[in-house]
């Protein structure tokens, strides 16, 4: 059952081979048992989860089940859920219990899915290793001495270790795709505006996008069918007709042109990762795809631009955590300014503070034009590069990350090295494009991710390519030994 796909689970529930309560208990037990050392969850609440499971069983019995009814799903602790702690892995929100549901949570609740728990992450989604959490580092199920990637590391690790059939995450610069790659699971970052940001705690508003984690592209499609959709409470949410993200799963790859950007295969890419990715590209060719060269000449500027824009927005988004209305407040202080200082000094971790400082700096009088405005110009150039590239191909393919999972603590003291982990992923966020990562091999026993970037609203096409690849390969079926 722990290896079953969402559609298999739904079939088992429908046939009453298992109940949602049993299924939920199964995964809760895994989280508390073999999963415990991974530290993938910030909060579980068996009573709450099982109550939802019982309701789902009722719905199934009444014949009113949908594709996700009764399926337990883990949510990144960046999505607020009514009655659940919603901490963003920060001391600042350690005591915060949300009085409302995020749009994504509402959609899953309406579909009858069960909230399995809230997953661990980098504080306020700032990080690429899930080490920057008030609740401690998450560990990679393939090697617990290594990081799972981040910031949605808890969700990726939970899906990889079969602690949850599926999970949600958010991706601001690669926070879904990079941990998916490092943990050997599938993750999709949709087109900006496809998934509502309402109730998704903001890191960098113009880049943040929610998306699913699962073990197959087909499961990602099933999750997207629930997560995506217009929400009038998010002004950047796109009002488009509902679509079936599974509609292109069976489409053959014949005639597909996959673009390979040379910029993604240069220095900095580990040789064994490159080998796995090249193997995957050959597999796509065997399936009928035509491989073409494309160019993303400004690719090298994406990390610098990203690390101006994202901190700028974050510095403003995180101003609300001031100790006045909710969340952490320093216990001792002398007057208002001291209260602010101590609250924020004690409530935020070092990486969050670093980004607030950088963001404040780049928006300051006299620096705005040189940093923020210039970064926005680069952002437009990067979007234009993609637009040019998509004239000659249907999807861009390459590595998700430059290397496999690194060791815990390896890059904690070197933020620039940490940031370079996002080198292949941030461009899609800057351009607002959909992108996914799927497992495509191993290097030194650790999973390697293949990234596919599509044109705007090409999620279904990307999922189709991934699905055909997964029908021909079994990388996505591999399970870390201790969690099989």
């Amino acid at each position: 059952m722990i290896d079953a796909s969402i559609s298999e689970l739904a079939a088992a529930l429908a046939a009453r081979r298992i109940s949602s309560v049993e299924l939920t208990r199964l995964f809760l037990d895994r989280i508390a048992g073999p999963g415990a050392p991974l530290n993938a969850f910030i909060a579980v609440d068996p009573e709450r989860s099982l109550a939802q499971a019982r309701a789902a069983d009722g719905r199934i019995a009444a014949g009113a089940a949908g594709p996700l009814t009764g399926i337990p799903i883990a949510h990144k602790d960046i999505f607020v859920a009514e009655g659940w702690p919603s901490t963003c892995a920060s001391r600042m929100l350690a005591n915060f219990v949300s009085p409302y549901d995020a749009h994504v949570i509402e959609r899953f609740n309406a579909a009858g899915a069960v909230i399995l728990g809230k997953t661990n992450m980098d504080e306020f989604a700032m990080g690429s290793s899930s080490e920057a959490s008030w609740y401690g580092a998450v560990r990679n199920p393939w090697d617990t001495g290594r990081v799972p990637g981040g910031s949605s590391g808890g969700s990726a690790a939970a899906v990889a270790a079969r602690l949850a059939p599926a999970a949600t995450g958010t991706d601001t610069g690669g926070s879904i795709r990079q941990p998916a790659a490092l943990c050997g699971v599938c993750g999709l970052k949709p087109t900006y505006g496809v998934v509502s940001r309402y109730g998704m705690i903001a890191f960098a508003s113009s880049l943040d996008q929610g998306g699913p984690f699962a073990r197959s592209a087909a499961d990602l499609a099933a999750l997207m069918n629930v997560m995506a959709g217009f929400d009038p409470r998010d002004s950047t949410s796109l009002e488009r007709p509902a679509e079936d993200y599974a509609r292109e799963l069976e489409r053959p790859l014949a005639g597909l042109r996959v673009g390979v950007p040379s910029e993604y295969f240069g220095a900095g890419l580990a040789a064994d990762v490159a080998a796995a990715v090249e193997g995957a590209i050959e597999a796509l060719e065997r399936l009928g795809a035509e491989v073409v060269d494309v160019h993303l000449p400004n690719a090298g500027l994406s990390v610098p631009a990203y690390y101006v824009i994202a901190p700028a927005e974050a510095s403003s988004n995180l101003s609300r955590y001031d100790g006045v209305r909710y969340g952490y407040r320093a216990t001792e202080y002398d007057g208002l300014i001291d209260m602010y200082r101590r609250t924020r000094a004690e409530g935020f971790g070092p990486e969050v503070k670093r980004r607030i400082l950088v963001g404040t700096y780049v928006l300051s009088h006299g620096y705005y034009d040189a940093y923020y405005l210039k970064a926005q110009k680069i952002r437009r150039l990067i979007a234009r590069d993609f637009a040019e590239a998509f004239k000659g191909c249907d999807a861009i393919v390459g590595p998700t990350t430059p290397s496999v999972a690194f060791r815990l603590g390896e890059k904690v003291d070197d933020p620039v090295q940490m940031y370079l982990n996002d080198i292949y992923t941030v461009a899609a966020n800057l351009a607002g494009l959909p992108a996914l990562s799927i497992p495509c091999g191993f290097a030194g026993g650790m999973p390697v991710g293949l990234q596919l970037v599509g044109d705007y609203f090409a999620e279904a096409r990307l999922l189709g390519i991934a699905h055909r690849f997964q029908q021909a390969t079994d990388w996505h079926r591999r399970t870390p030994q201790s969690f099989a």
């Binding site: 949300s98 998010d234 403003s316 209305r325 009088h365």
Partner: protein, 491 residues
């Protein structure tokens, strides 16, 4: 040295939407603290702003009313600063691309002279909450009911040269925003708040002096006094050889002075940047046309029409267009008069109506604090009263007595004036024979005054008018009385 004061005003106009600019919470005034603050207003994690269309429509109305450019595409920006009553740690405002750019407000000064004050811009933004510094045992309370209330900040050019001009501008602006239904204008509740940028320079100098921004001017009187004080303060400093520091000052009405709030060094770096949670605001041509079609005739247009079509003096026209209610009332009186005396001359009717609306009626409204819309004397009833003066049924003086009785509710309906005139027996004595007899008696009884008058002391004439009015209980037709008196005294 002769000094010139230069003033520009920044006015925060609270827009009269039922819900807030970025949330669905109510904007009603006076609710218990924090009962009108939803998740968005208190800035819970994860919430997002959604722009209120009604607030934008009101900004467009204003832009059209002042002949400004309404931008087809404007941008919201975040103004970042920490304050306990600012829940997000930033205010959503507009910075580089405000919705309203330029325009002008035409004002009428006390001497009837008209001039235009140019507007720099008007932009949409959200209000902050309120800090409550009492009743919390040494702590401060925060009330977020006002947080997110829609504001239009209207910025003028430094086009005013005296406190009186600034007040005329503020009054005209106040009248306009109420006229076009975008603000209730309630200054006590903070719906219309002015900040004044004041500087002084030697008369004739081209360059502007260093300005100070004065805050907390929540009445026209405070505005006037604060500017006067501030100009005196600045002149005294310069004449003493000092320099004016760029700073923000607070007006203290109790002491009638301004005092420093923060200097340039303490000024915030607001780190404005485009608000990523909101798309640029697009205003379509169709929407613009729709809003334009819904605008009422504007005060300036009415003023010009009153002068052009009704022959009113400019000053009267300005007074009558101080509010839409006053103008509407005035026009109803004119219409009532035209109906009461179909052949009457329009300009004379209009002038009579103007005198009564701006005179007796305005006085009564002021004394009692009643709004013109709730006047106990309806426009058509007032028209009938004026008609009775014009057809010589009563004198102007008696008419005031009748008006007071109408105000007091002695009779109701359109014909209240007639009812009171009849009941009180106030009809004018126009019987020439009767008047002649009364005047002959007065002349006969006052030989000394007659002699005085005949010796050239014209003033004595007034004595006889007074006597005649007394004898007729003011009912003598004044023109007739004067005519008969002249004849009799000429002897």
């Amino acid at each position: 040295m002769k000094w010139e004061t230069v003033i520009g005003l920044e006015t925060h106009v609270q827009l009269s939407t039922r819900s807030k600019i970025f949330s669905g919470a109510s904007t009603a005034f006076g609710a218990p603290p924090n009962t009108q603050a939803c998740a968005v207003d208190i800035a819970l994690p994860g919430v997002l702003p959604v722009l209120n269309r009604g607030a934008v429509e009101r900004a467009i109305r204003f832009g059209l009313a002042v002949g400004a450019e309404v931008r087809r595409r404007s941008v919201f920006a975040r103004k970042n600063y920490f304050y306990p009553d600012l829940p997000k740690g930033y205010q959503i405002s507009q910075f580089e691309a405000p919705i309203v750019q330029g325009g002008a407000l035409r004002i009428v000064l006390a001497d009837g002279a008209e001039r235009a004050v140019r507007l720099t811009r008007a932009h949409l933004e959200e209000d902050a909450g309120k800090s409550l510094h009492e009743d919390f045992h040494g702590m401060s309370g925060i009330d977020l009911n006002r947080a997110g209330t829609p504001l239009l900040e209207i910025v003028s050019e430094p086009d005013m040269r005296s406190a009186a001009e600034a007040v005329a501008y503020a009054r005209a602006l106040h009248a306009l925003v109420r006229w076009i239904d975008i603000c209730d204008g309630n200054m006590q509740e903070g719906s219309f708040r002015c900040d004044a940028n004041v500087s002084v320079r030697p008369r004739g100098a081209a360059a502007l002096g260093t300005r100070c921004e004065i805050k907390n001017l929540n009445s026209f009187r405070f505005l006037e006094r604060a500017i006067e004080y501030e100009a005196r303060r600045q002149i005294a400093i310069i004449e003493d050889g000092g320099r004016i520091e760029l700073e923000t000052r607070l007006y203290d009405p109790d002491r009638d002075e301004t005092r420093s709030m923060r200097t340039k060094e303490e000024a915030h770096d607001y780190r404005y940047f485009p608000e990523p949670d909101l798309l640029p605001l697009e205003v379509s041509e169709a929407w613009l046309a729709e809003v334009a079609a819904s605008l009422p005739e504007l005060p300036v247009a009415r003023r010009e029409r009153y002068v052009r079509d009704l022959g009113l003096p400019a000053q009267d026209a300005a007074t009558l267009t101080a509010s839409r209610e006053t103008a509407d009332y005035f026009e109803a009186v004119v219409a009532g008069l035209a109906e009461a005396e179909p052949g009457g001359e329009r300009p004379a009717q209009a002038k009579a109506a103007a005198n009564w609306v701006a005179g007796e009626l305005a006085g009564a409204l002021n004394r009692t604090g009643v709004e013109i819309g709730a006047s106990p004397v309806a426009a058509r009833a007032l028209a009938r009263l004026i008609a009775r003066i014009r057809d010589d049924t009563i004198s102007g003086k008696i008419a005031k007595e009748v008006f007071d009785a109408m105000w007091a509710g002695e009779a109701g309906g359109e014909n209240a004036a007639d009812a009171i005139i009849e009941r009180r027996g106030l009809r004018q004595i126009t019987d020439a024979g009767a008047l002649e007899r009364i005047i002959e008696e007065i002349v006969a009884a006052n030989p000394a005054q007659v002699a005085e008058y005949r010796s050239g002391k014209e003033k004595a004439f007034n004595y006889f008018v007074g006597q005649a009015m007394k004898a007729t209980k003011s009912k003598g037709n004044p023109a007739q009385v004067a005519e008969i008196l002249k004849r009799k005294l000429a002897g």
